[in-house]
């Protein structure tokens, strides 16, 4: 909690998103400087490895608790991928599962008080969204050749309108990765900022000697924390399901 010059608490909801170098302080001067963002991404990867590799170690027919958590995650994403992509989904499943589990862990780790939410930065979500975008383009051209461009050419429209519609389709094609990344980062950032605002309000009420009223923002914080856990899971799910839908468009550009 930030504190002003006279010792009074100050509401500073955005300071939690500052990227700081891990060692030696100062500014982040190069892109390989290890930062708190790097640390929390590595922690997410470590947590995933611990859960999936450690949990599946036994490979028991009747799973232990940890193993059944892993298997449920796996089969949940697998059935989603197979529902949307059908047989083609087999090849993309490892990629989609990686995306889902990384976003899920980054979001959930961000809920630990004092941690850093890597997915609240558009730099992180943008890289993932553009990876999906380029995968869609590469897969689309590899599978369909120039037929992939039919995605932009609306056959049902009159011929005179088609070039204008093609331009509109191209713009809406570029909208996808951006809205994909903005949605995830925006959701995470907004929720965490709101939590900080209520926390600041609570600290201010206590500082000004009307601590009885502090029960109101406290209740709000409890409710919003619960909502944020829901948002953390749902956003990971939405990111992956939209990835599947975009990939399906690339594989079958006809409709």
């Amino acid at each position: 909690m930030a504190v002003g010059a006279d010792g009074a608490p100050v509401i500073d909801p955005m300071s939690q998103f500052t990227i700081k170098p891990l060692f030696g302080g100062g500014a982040v001067d190069s892109f390989i400087t290890p930062t708190n963002s790097t640390l929390w991404m590595l922690l997410a990867v470590g947590g995933i490895s611990l859960l999936l590799i450690g949990g599946m170690r036994g490979r028991a027919l009747v799973p232990t608790r940890t193993q059944s958590v892993c298997e449920l995650l796996y089969s949940f994403i697998r059935s989603m991928v197979m529902d949307i992509l059908h047989e083609d989904g087999r090849k993309f499943f490892p990629y989609i599962f990686t995306l889902f589990i990384f976003i899920l862990f980054a979001n959930i780790l961000g809920m630990i008080p004092g941690s850093f939410t890597t997915t609240s930065h558009i730099a992180v979500t943008g890289v993932m969204a553009f990876a999906v975008f380029f995968t869609v383009i590469v897969v689309g051209f590899a599978k369909n050749g120039t037929g992939f461009l039919k995605l932009f050419w609306v056959d049902s429209a009159p011929l005179a309108l088609r070039p204008a519609l093609a331009l509109i389709e191209v713009i809406s094609f570029f909208v996808r990765p951006l809205s994909h990344s903005v949605r995830l980062a925006g959701n995470m950032m907004a929720g965490h900022a709101v939590l900080k605002v209520f926390a600041g309000l609570l600290a201010m009420l206590i500082f000004n000697g009307i601590g009885v009223l502090a029960i109101l923002p406290l209740g709000m914080m409890v409710a919003i924390t619960a909502l944020e856990f829901l948002v953390a899971c749902v956003q990971a799910y939405i990111f992956t399901i939209l990835t599947c839908i975009y990939l399906n468009d690339a594989l079958h550009p006809g409709h």
């Binding site: 799973p63 389709e169 713009i171 809406s172 951006l178 809205s179 949605r183």
Partner: protein
Amino acid sequence: MTPHTPGHSVRATLAGASWLCALGVCLPEEPRPRIARAGTPRQKLERLEQRIAAARHAATPKPRADKDKYAAMSLAWRMVVELVISVMVGAAMGWGLDSVFSTLPLFLIVFVLLGFAAGVRTVMRSAHEMQRKQLAVGESQGAKQDEGA
């Protein structure tokens, strides 16, 4: 092997097997001569599977209303983001073309309008997608009800 009632052993197998079936793992056939008295292993297995199916059907929670509310909210949020972003993408494209050809307001205006059109198109497509999904869900639920009847 300690003697125990067949009922107990079936229940114990059920507790383990309901997990496996939930995960889509097939149940292996265990040769158990003592249980085979009540039928061949395959018949026992079929009866067990029926019981598991009935238990799973009873344990499946009914779809909750507030879940739908949350899904509708996230769809609305998605549409808003898509609309805003497409206008911004259009503006950025127009600005880029303008700075290449140094015709500042011209392409910016045209592409903001095109971006808005693209936004409406994307939103319409999202709505269509959602409608198709809901129709599919409704059909599969209807099919299940037909099976039950």
